[in-house]
Amino acid sequence: MKVDRRSFLGLGLGAVAGVVVSPVGLKLTDDSSIWTQNWPWTPVPIDGEISYDSSVCNLCPGNCGISVRKIAGRPVKIEGLGGYPVNDGGVCLHGISGLQYLYDPSRVRTPLRKNGDIFEAISWEEAISHTAGKLADIRKSDAPQKLACITDKTQGSVTGLFQRFLTAFGSPNLYAMPSLESNLELTAQTLHGSGNTLGFDLENSDFVLSFGAGLIEGWGSPVNCFKANASRKERHCVLYQVEPRLSNTAATADKWIPVNPGTEADLALGICAVMIKNTLFDAANFKAGFAKFAAMVQIEYSLDKVAQTCGINPGEIEKIASLFAKAKRPVAVPGKGRGESGQNLKEFAAVHTLNCLAGNLNKSGGVFIMAQASDLSFPEAVMDDVAELGAGQEKMAGSVNDLVEKINAAEKPVVDALFVYNANPCYSLSAPERVRQAFKKIPFVVSFSSFLDETAMEADVILPISTFLERMEDVPSQAGLAKKIIGLMRPVIKPVFDTKDPGDALILLANALEGTIAESFAWESYAECLESVTGDNWSSLSEEGHVVISEGAPEGVPDVDFTFLATNPSTVQAQGEFELTLIPVDNIHLTGAALTVSPFALKTVCDRVLTGTDIVVEINPATAKGLKDYGDAILTTPVGEARVKVSFNEGIMPGVIGMVRGLGHTFDNKFVSNKGVNVNDLIGPVVESGSGLDAAFGIKAKISKA
């Protein structure tokens, strides 16, 4: 028997036939197709029981109630909380992205200590004892007032604890970053006396005269404003938007009134002049300075002068004045963009004066003058002699900006140690390079942050704080909301990393310092502290998740003091000699203040704002000589220079360049950093005398083809 080719063929064919007829072929085909659909690296989210947790978001001062859907205890989606008095179910894109902050891979996971140029991970014990050691040294030097602190706001229990720490330590130097709330408080103080803030009852108004306020770009409590805007048509409410650029708010308004950048105060005073001239006002409760103001404004802000300054028709000014005065429930709203930085008191006061003249104070649809009663009752801090002496001193600066200037101007350290909490001054102040320089001059900087942002990078110790989804805190309403509400932020998940509540970190630090400082922080935990300082409100807070302190118009009509404006303070001008004016633009997609934009939110940014890593600026084609639409250009201001792309936009005044705020971050996060330019790098501070605010609303600029 010879085994030759045919037998092999037979063998082969037989094998093949056998396999084909067997189940192998069919089964392997089915199995391989399933195999190709189940790669091990494609995540398969684990299923489980669905539950919902309520909380309050504090990513911005908006105070929105949120509902977090969880699967088997794992948060998977954030939505608005229906029925919550601020937002009734709505939520903004940043709140929804909250989970991206929670799981941000570039979060600080443990305390860090700077060693040379790099950060080393250390334990909480080490971090606290190291920090306490440095602070104790400052106390020994008998200058405890050289401990300063920068936070985001002046209200709430956490700020209260930072204040308390400084007081027990012996320092008065607590500073809050500029915010819409601080600007409104200052305005209220100037016109009505201290201890008040302003609330705008937009949802009941029938004529909103907004001076650049980005009502749908994130001004105030964003979702609350969105809802007020959305219901305008049904309520027959008219919106007039005064600003150099067609923002989304201007686009949705009944009329867009373009004015030259930085001339909003002039227009407001011009309208005041018309109202006074035609006696379209109600003088109830006008106290000091009205006569002087009335006289001044009719001369200095006459129709022609204002028309010239602002670049609008005199007839237009009269028409607006007439409509505003005759409306049943008019309200004038100040605060360009988000109303946070680059604002000035003259403008806020001028716009608010329109409200005073219109007689809408404490009336439905108008402005509420809300008394700032503290809803928290802290026991007296225990102070020793060192503390008494230190805390009794004058504050060394009038604002964060002022503090930075003083540090830079002095040869020896003016500040020996600095706490920074929920603020990013090394990014969000004008000309942040000088802020970084100032920070380098401070011997010891402690950042209470879970994100290694520009400011944290300048720190010597980082005490990482849990995100808003991982901890409890009281969230007071602010930023122009016409109601006073305290929300309770509650944890929906245990801290993912080795982070703590800021209150707990302060308690540990106080205990490490011992003595009267430790005595002032005699709580076991921040949770215990919160319960005790919220007093009677705690039961409502813990059961309902919020407590409504006040809603509806306050009683009575407050006095109005016209002294400040009567002196005709000068209008802040844009620095520099170039032809064009660069203005920063607030936009709902990007964030302001300390919060960095999330990957999801960044995805919603138009490619005509950010292309690859190039920021795109807007310019009217009429003043875009030599430039190509979507072409590269060099933007130069007295403070700096940047490579940008240019987008021709008919929705911006000729002569003005618009650049968004919120890009140009430089920390280590490949999704959101190193994209675009930080507009603050191109704008230098211009301090308004009197208020001390950095009023730089923009800067002179030139732009040429790259």
């Binding site: 063998l11 056998g18 396999v19």
Partner: protein, 223 residues
């Protein structure tokens, strides 16, 4: 040489016969080829039927034996542990917390299995890593509420009489796909005797067609 010469001399018929008849050696080769064919065919066919499943499926035992009959008599029927939640979703495999509604870290009975459970899982607060026979791929959305409540089906129609078992059968997993043998079916041909023998899309579709007149739209069962 001579044969050929003969062919041409003897005429076409003979030549033809001899020509096609071929070599006696060829006969044997073909025969061998056929034999080899049949042998190979048989071997491959039988391997495909019998050996292939053994190679394809891995066999593992559950972490410890679970006696369903014991539990149905002690605790209640299927719904006691495998229930519909308030929102209509299915609770699936009971977690440690539900077992601990009765069990503690001290065994109640005498079995070695319960001892393992108490020692390794309850005491250590560790979830039992059960192997799930009916696990479907991530693309599948199956609503137990729709089938139990609306269609009035019985658990065993799809899952088999698992409630009447005292032992947990071994978990056989397809090495290529990662799914249980219960999905394609124990029979390598995919032939099923009972409704619970197979849980592929075609089985769902066939029952849907029979009961509702339509196979169903894609999104009804996929996500």
């Amino acid at each position: 040489m001579s044969k050929i010469e003969n062919k041409s001399e003897n005429g076409s018929m003979e030549g033809a016969g001899e020509g096609t008849g071929g070599d006696p050696k060829d006969d044997k080769g073909l025969g061998l080829g056929v034999i080899f064919f049949m042998v190979a065919f048989l071997v491959c066919f039988l391997s495909g039927w019998l050996l292939f499943p053994k190679l394809l499926y891995s066999k593992r035992e559950q972490p410890f034996n679970f006696d369903h009959v014991l539990h149905t008599s002690e605790a209640g029927d299927c719904e006691t542990c495998h229930f519909l939640r308030e929102d209509g979703t299915f609770s699936g495999m009971p977690n440690l917390a539900s077992c601990m509604e009765c069990h503690t870290d001290e065994p109640m009975g005498e079995t070695e299995d319960e001892a393992i459970f108490a020692r390794e899982y309850v005491a250590k607060e560790k979830e039992v890593p059960w192997f799930i026979y009916s696990k479907q791929p991530d693309c599948v959305f199956f609503s137990h509420a729709a089938h139990i409540n609306a269609a009035g089906m019985e658990c065993k129609t799809c899952h088999g009489p698992i409630g009447e078992s005292t032992t947990s059968r071994p978990y056989e997993e397809n090495r290529i796909t990662g799914y249980s043998r219960d999905i394609w079916g124990k029979n390598i041909w995919g032939i099923k005797k009972h409704s619970w023998d197979r849980m592929k899309m075609d089985d769902c579709a066939a029952c849907h067609k029979e009961e509702t007149g339509h196979q169903g739209y894609c999104f009804q069962c996929h996500k």
